[in-house]
């Protein structure tokens, strides 16, 4: 009934969707699983009209359609329940449900609130939610808001003829067990009116609810399985793809770290709702990887080490000195370097050239009484461009114009050259091509040889396993399990996944 045929989508430097064939039958619940960055969200955006495919087509009942925007998709029966919720918190429930479609209740410019509330009640009944439609949305629980969001999407069926396809993006991520059951029951009941596409990283839930499951990897659909033929292991295997290539992650260059010395230690450190009672030690030459799902608290831990977040309790010790004041300036001074996930926003300053970026964190080394010594900066930048093989016409080139891999090298050069010996890497290979990724892996090994301790949040689980000496699994801000990552006895993906979700 609804289908994509041979859809391709390109972004600058990335082939985001590769010949994707995808279809939904009437009344069917289709699951979509894949790792972060596998292309799930791009695919969803194509389905609900936020992106237009670069090749291939969208078909409804074998007729080709093209959506310029989500509203057009909606008019063709495609609705989306967003993970982060699209409701406006300070409006009432009914105003949210009919946002953008209030016209039907307006006579001579005046809103007929009774009819409005009546209609909203009818929509809420569809999701079995018994609340006053005049309630301010922010007063509802998260689960209730999710149902209101669903009710809002279901108003599409009153506006259009034909079938409905509803996308659910990670709808269960913050729901309690019984709330999930409730939602699933509701979705199953609604299949009489609509088909669903259910996207989640919780494989067990996808298996539970879906009639058919699409598995995505690197922008392509790698498998489609029916509910009855499902095998969790094989899905996980396909999600993650190829066997771990030890050569790729430079495992032969992984040497034991110096366990007698401690660079950084966390002792029962907690920060609000972000993470709780985290303890670990980082040693020179060690790659310690924090593994967990999105929002499990990994990044907050990195930002605490750097000084951008101050913990509520616990002791952070860097090089045998307890940290009392958490500022980024202090972090740099203590020898901590931070390679953030958002390379273009937090990593480099676009509009500043290569040498200005490299010395930004260490201007005191290139100035006298506040006056910059630019020729020193330039010579220094040329040295590091040479050393890391950064592809740039010169040190005067705007960093914003470099490729992702070279930008990342500039960020790494900034910290390494400044003598940082605790390096925090947040998704250091995100969005890089294979060659650039290998360069980053090579640099990680070199830093370890030089006695640097690395705290890593990896882009994929394979990367985490391949690179790490130690892996800590974190779930919902709490420590789950520690794995030893010595080559030969590295944990498997399934070991990790088991504790993550």
């Amino acid at each position: 009934m609804y289908g994509l045929r041979k859809v391709e989508k390109y972004f600058p430097g990335v082939h985001a969707l590769r010949r994707v064939d995808f279809h939904v039958n009437r009344g069917e619940i289709v699951g979509l699983v894949g790792e972060n960055g596998a292309g799930k969200s791009t695919l969803m955006k194509v389905i609900y009209g936020a992106y237009q495919p670069d090749a291939g087509g969208i078909f409804i009942d074998d007729k080709e359609v093209r959506f310029q925007n989500p509203r057009q998709a909606m008019e063709n029966g495609i609705g989306m329940v967003f993970q982060e919720q699209s409701l406006i918190p300070n409006l009432t429930v009914m105003e949210n449900i009919f946002l953008g479609y209030e016209r039907q209740f307006v006579n001579f410019g005046v809103i007929n609130w009774n009819a409005f509330a009546e209609a909203a009640k009818k929509q809420l009944a569809k999701v079995k939610l018994d609340i006053d439609p005049a309630t301010i949305t922010s007063e509802l629980s998260f689960a209730q808001r999710q149902l209101v969001d669903l009710a809002k999407v279901l108003t599409i069926e009153d506006r259009i003829e034909g079938d409905l396809v509803i996308l659910l993006d990670e709808p269960t991520s913050v729901l309690a067990r019984e709330e999930v059951e409730l939602l699933f029951g509701l979705v199953r009941g609604l299949t009489k009116r609509a088909s669903f596409i259910f996207v989640s990283h919780r494989i067990d839930e996808v298996l539970d609810l879906s009639d058919r499951i699409y598995v995505m990897k690197d922008g392509a659909i790698v498998d489609v399985v029916n509910h009855d033929e499902v095998n969790v292991d094989s899905i996980q295997h396909k999600m993650v793809g190829r066997e771990i290539d030890t050569e790729y992650y430079r495992e032969q260059k992984q040497k034991p770290y110096n366990a007698s010395e401690v660079l950084l230690s966390f002792d029962n450190v907690s920060l609000g709702t972000r993470y709780k009672d985290i303890s670990f030690e980082l040693h020179p030459g060690e790659v310690l990887c924090l593994v967990g799902t999105e929002g499990s608290g990994r990044e907050a831990i990195l930002r605490t080490v750097f000084g951008l977040e101050a913990p509520d309790s616990g002791t952070v010790t860097i090089k045998n000195e307890q940290v009392w004041h958490f500022t980024a300036e202090g972090g740099v001074w203590r020898g901590v370097g931070y390679v953030p996930r958002e390379r273009k926003i937090e990593g480099i300053v676009g509009g500043m050239n290569v040498y200005e970026n490299m010395t930004l964190s260490q201007m005191q080394n290139f100035s006298r009484a506040g006056t910059l010594l630019e020729s020193n900066e330039k010579a220094f930048a040329r040295e590091w461009i040479e050393r890391l093989g950064i592809k740039t016409p010169s040190e005067n080139k705007d960093c914003g114009g470099l490729s992702g891999g070279n930008q990342q090298k500039v960020v790494l050069a900034k910290w390494r050259s400044g003598g940082s010996d605790i390096i925090l890497l947040d998704h250091p290979t995100r969005g890089l091509d294979i060659g650039a990724k290998e360069d980053v892996y090579e640099m990680i090994r070199e830093m370890c040889d030089a006695g640097v301790g690395i705290l890593l949040v990896a882009d994929t689980l394979e990367e985490a396993i391949g690179l790490s000496h130690t892996i800590l699994v974190i779930k919902d801000g709490e420590f789950q399990k520690r794995f030893d990552g010595t080559p030969g006895s590295k944990p498997s993906l399934y070991d990790l996944l088991h504790h993550m979700i």
Partner: protein
């Protein structure tokens, strides 16, 4: 050649074109001596715009400069007799202090700079009214000439105001281009999150930027006061719009990060030419503000970096 590559050259090309246009219509405009006196005339405005450049360069704005200058005219006039030439130090410190408070309010209390500086401007205005007793005050001519007479006058045909302007421009350029402070300003204007993630003390740098803006506004006020030989809480009115126009027409966008003090010099000259042209075609003073208002909107729309803005309110 595409538009993005010509864009940085827009300001001086505009200046050249406008100057030629006015020169053709009114050849006396291009006579060196009359040009020099026009330029000398606009120096207080230029100094104010120079300071404002620092606030705009980091992506903020300083709406207090006109009121700071007003306040300084009063301070200078009231305390000249008591402190002599060192009244200049008091004036500049007052400007620094007001600017620093604006910066602190903006960065520590998270009040957007256009509101915090507007509020600080009203406070400065109040101080000016209080100190002056709401009257126009006059400087003692002998004292003025003895202490600040050097500001005005001619040496070998070069007006002294111009020398002061060039000196301050060189100072501002040095600050912006050659110091760690200037580099930090650029990083903050171009990409503040990356500046934070590089461990820069972003708050301190931003507070300093507003302090510099305040100090330059104070110098502008002092010059104006000496020039007009008096002080009044409304003396510098009309400067604010022109100062903003000068910075933006010069090519420093409201979003910050590019442009700088040299651009502001060009922008101020553009303002001067437009003003001369309006006098020539006999547009009355009341209507001039209208023209500058329109120029301001056009300049903002042309220079602003929309990729840095998600929402406009």
């Amino acid at each position: 050649m595409n538009l993005e590559r010509i864009k940085p050259h827009f300001p001086w090309l505009t200046l050249l074109a406008l100057a030629l246009l006015v020169g053709i219509a009114n050849p006396s405009f291009l006579v060196p001596s009359s040009l020099l006196s026009l330029v000398a005339d606009i120096v207080p405005l230029f100094i104010m715009a120079l300071g404002m450049t620092f606030a705009i360069y980091i992506g903020g704005i300083d709406l207090s400069v006109q009121q700071l200058a007003n306040m300084v005219t009063v301070i200078a006039t009231v305390y000249l007799a008591q402190f002599g030439a060192s009244v200049a130090v008091i004036c500049i410190l007052a400007g620094l202090l007001f600017g620093a408070v604006s910066g602190y309010v903006t960065n520590r209390l998270y009040v957007p700079s256009f509101v915090s500086t507007l509020a600080m401007g009203f406070i400065a205005l109040s101080v000016a009214k209080y100190l002056s007793g709401q009257r126009a005050l006059y400087m003692d001519a002998t004292l003025r000439d003895a202490n600040f007479g050097w500001m005005f006058g001619n040496t070998a045909g070069v007006p002294h105001e111009l020398v002061i302007a060039v000196f301050l421009l060189a100072l501002a350029w040095f600050l912006q281009k050659k110091t760690t402070f200037g580099r930090a300003l650029k990083a903050i204007g171009s990409g503040e999150p990356a500046a934070v993630a590089s461990g820069l003390n972003v708050v301190r740098v931003k507070v300093l930027a507003f302090a510099v803006s305040g100090a330059f506004a104070a110098i502008a006020g002092l010059m104006f006061s000496v020039k007009l030989s008096g002080g009044d809480a409304n003396l510098a009115n009309g400067f604010l719009l022109l100062a903003i126009v000068a910075v933006l027409v010069g090519g420093t966008p409201l979003t910050g990060g590019v442009g700088g003090v040299i651009n502001t010099a060009v922008g101020t000259l553009i303002v001067m030419v437009i003003r001369a042209a309006m006098v020539y075609v006999e547009i009355s003073a009341t209507q001039q503000q209208m023209i500058f208002g329109v120029v301001l909107i056009i300049a903002i729309a042309l220079t602003i970096d929309r990729s840095k803005m998600q929402i406009v309110k």
